[in-house]
Symmetry: D2
Subunit: 311 residues, 4 copies
């Protein structure tokens, strides 16, 4: 089965449940995948930011891909992040995750090193040349500290280097430039434009996105699947209402006290706390050096879930 071109629908960036000893909790991961599949999602993206890829050692990354790929057994496309600083290191991850069965890879611009647009393009060209599966660009300036320029993405799409874009930049204007550029070219009908911004999925779909990659879909896959369907059927008012319910639920990413922890600890801590409260994963621990949520902060997660109608 070829990789969907374009990939559409809801493709959650799958969280990586950990044991108290910080090992991958395989049974919890399987339950999480079952929960997402039962929720009706259209694909799975492992080893993204919500999957704590930046925190997982290589052997844990491999275990995650193998576990998820073998469990879904081809029912759904599985994409994997190949997150590392530069070209050769990324290619090592590409080899690992595709050997483990990933059907596409998601790759950022180089980071840590200072980066020029010409170097970003060169990076993607080299990675795509060495990848046996399609390469999607991952635009996440909060992590990478550069914004992927729309013209670079469109040039690489036109040259067949990139198969899609996962945009977590929050910049809907730039996203629209890519969507419009792609839609204007008949040869790019297979290019996937996906938003990673949880709270503007309706807006991204309205400007022409193919689908979404919302971290919060770990917690509420049914909600995002419903939202996706409402966007496709053109029921914009119902879509907006569903999106606003999810926006309120997304408030959980801010429960962590900013005097005590950073945004990653708070957001990933909240997603995992919610999955734990829903009984899907056994342990809400996040990877080091993230700071855990306090019991009061977890309680606030629970209240936001109740307010959004989640048990």
């Amino acid at each position: 089965m070829p990789f969907p071109a374009p990939l559409t629908g809801v493709v959650p960036p799958v969280c990586t449940p950990l044991t108290p000893e910080h090992e991958v909790d395989v049974p919890s991961l399987l339950r999480l995948v079952d929960h997402l599949v039962a929720g009706g999602v259209h694909g799975l993206f492992v080893l993204g930011s919500s999957g704590e890829a930046a925190f997982l050692p290589d052997r844990q990354r491999r275990l995650v891909v193998e576990t998820v790929v073998s469990h879904v057994a081809g029912q759904l496309p599985v994409l994997a992040g190949a997150i590392d600083m530069t070209t050769a290191r990324v290619l090592d991850h590409v080899r690992e995750v595709t050997a483990a069965g990933a059907r596409a890879v998601v790759v950022t611009a180089p980071f840590y090193t200072r980066t020029h647009p010409a170097e970003i393009a060169r990076h993607y060209r080299r990675v795509a040349a060495g990848s046996p599966v399609p390469v999607l660009a991952y635009d996440i300036p909060t992590a990478v500290h550069t914004k992927l320029p729309a013209d670079v993405v469109l040039d690489l799409a036109a040259d067949g280097v990139l198969a899609g874009l996962k945009d977590s930049s929050g910049d809907l204007a730039g996203f629209r430039t890519v969507v419009s550029g792609v839609r204007a070219r008949p040869d790019l009908t297979g290019f996937s434009v996906l938003t990673g911004s949880e709270v503007i999925v309706d807006a991204a779909m309205a400007v022409g996105a193919d689908g979404s990659v919302p971290g919060l879909a770990n917690v509420d896959p049914e909600g995002y699947v419903r939202l996706d369907r409402l966007c496709r059927t053109g029921d914009r008012d119902a879509a907006r209402a569903e999106q606003e319910r999810l926006c309120a639920l997304f408030g959980m990413v801010g429960v962590g006290d900013p005097a005590r922890m950073g945004g990653n600890s708070s957001a990933l801590g909240a997603f995992k706390a919610a999955l734990h409260l829903r009984g899907i994963i056994d342990c809400p621990v996040t990877a080091e050096p993230q700071v855990p949520l306090s019991p009061e902060e977890v309680e606030r997660v629970g209240k936001l879930m109740a307010a959004a109608g989640l048990s």
Copy 2:
């Protein structure tokens, strides 16, 4: 032989020569180490930014450490970078480089993930707890996108977590705060404060640095050793003259056309071009996705070397 406390003198961040096929060029690396040892340097730092650590796959990183450690055979302390995004990944590198014989590790704050000072401290505590050798903090905001706060460094020094600081921030005021904080505490006499800024080594030594980690010392180790000695003997005017000669030579980092490449391509390309022109390494290639210098740009490197009295 214990690791020097403090580490003093000139500790070049050793470049990693590559073959045209982008493999580690071991004979060239050995010649480079010989050149540095003959130049009188006081230690070697492998897998730093000048060593292109961010670009090297794990097997190449391991080969670099093994090659250098076995070649110097204990004559000089060898420090190794353990450069990765977060705690568990860094600890994997710590295990690798210490197994290969590194006598200390150099570790940045977490990157890619958004980071809070509490998470930076937690990171260093976990890394130090898992490291068999001393841990030096590496402050390099251009790569990591956070500045290591002086108070965090001093707290971690006081708790025995950090054995030293390599400061590549360019912020002499912050550097001085750490130096003064260390000098004020009798229990921290072994803490090493090293500057990574090539062009203000004289100033850093004057405010109390223990030594320097200048990338340009790959090209001109004798110059930096001379500068170090002049600083120690208090011959400030001669030190300044030597530093200014090295500043002019350092102009090579800007030879690359900014319309065509970023700062890393230009600076590392220049260092390698200079080493190639001096006959020390066989091939000036830099790792992907860096853009190579043009022949005209290499010629400008040669002119700067000639002007600085290097053959």
Copy 3:
């Protein structure tokens, strides 16, 4: 007539035509106002970024407000920017522009000085206390280098300090947080939430914006008025088509060669070139130190206008 609460519709940030000698070109300004009024706009915002407020000396600022206010003679609400670094300086501008007849003022967070959220709140409280007319917050991080936090805006709205928000941040997620926060409170029905992002007006309206403040509406007011109407009547597909036409036209902001000028020179130069080509203003000059467009760049503006159906 009280100031509309909320202010709705299209409120162009009026350009400030200049003579070749860099004086305010009053006849051109009057023609521009007539063009906007004839285009059906719902208000006018003078001395915003598109109005080059940051470039105009005080006497020119005053002349702009007086000219526009007396010309529209109460037909439309006229808002004026009071753009300066800190509280007392802003209050001086508030006095000037309200004496000249402005019906509301638009005020950024403090800039030049480093700013804390507590200081931003204090700033708006002091400004509102000294202003005889409603105060709208102007969120423009590219200029001010801080993002107005949604919770600060909502707190100040709840306290009656702010009457509205003009959001030029490009961050639709943050914009939505303000919209939702305002809609959730019955006492804030009069608070105006306006987007300043030309290319996502349809999306901003769909998430609940009251109106838009698009610089490009200087060039094509009819287009933005049509878009506004289509958004209100719920004809989303026609709205999107109109918005996409305007997005293509907005491409003009990028005509300036980035090797020769910055983004302001290019964008404001393009707006003024377009107004000149349409025969509305006599001279396309922008204020110093902006770099003028070349004839070829102006020609590209003309082609984009023709492609968008503008004469």
Copy 4:
């Protein structure tokens, strides 16, 4: 008497004492000037960042210049900041401050507007063409959000546009590039290179600075004058000891609680609290919207003064 070329020595950026009603406190300002002159300073810089220029309305700025110029009556050169966003606005300030007797003006790159190096150069050329007195560039990236490129400064110096540089960037490497570039050209012997970094004056002098513009010299002018003299006589160890005493005193800028205020409120609040504790100014209030120090924070200022030997 011509303006000194170069200007050398200690040139404090004079604080602006305010009354409880936020008016300029002229008697306190006169006492402060007397205190600085008695301390042996070599010039006075009014309306800089320490002078709260960004906070003062135009009439207060004028009063400050007039007061200080008439009081020093030519004994010392008085420089004035002409701090505003863009060219025409800066030129208005240049006219005001030179009419009031300023002997040179200090001007930043444009801010608020996005700025290209070509626009920065154009700005300085226009300002210098319109200024009856020498123009010094003010490099303060924390305020202006661009770093003045060394090559732009050197080009403008060579063309006679700039008479000097006040560098508050903290980047000693960049500062050194300007110093070396100036020293290499016989025609630029009159160009003044001044550091605005309180804690590395000794280092800046050692790399060749002509003098310093330290905000802390308001509090301890004798200390900075002593430091300047020790640097000139080459007594580097005594200079370093004096500098380290001043560094400890400078710790006062951090007394303000970062949960309650920003860095400006803390630093300027501390300088004014110290001047108040020394009996030089009547009231320590800072301009709006700065947050005042608490009594405990003021007490910490007093302790740092006592530790530094100030009454």
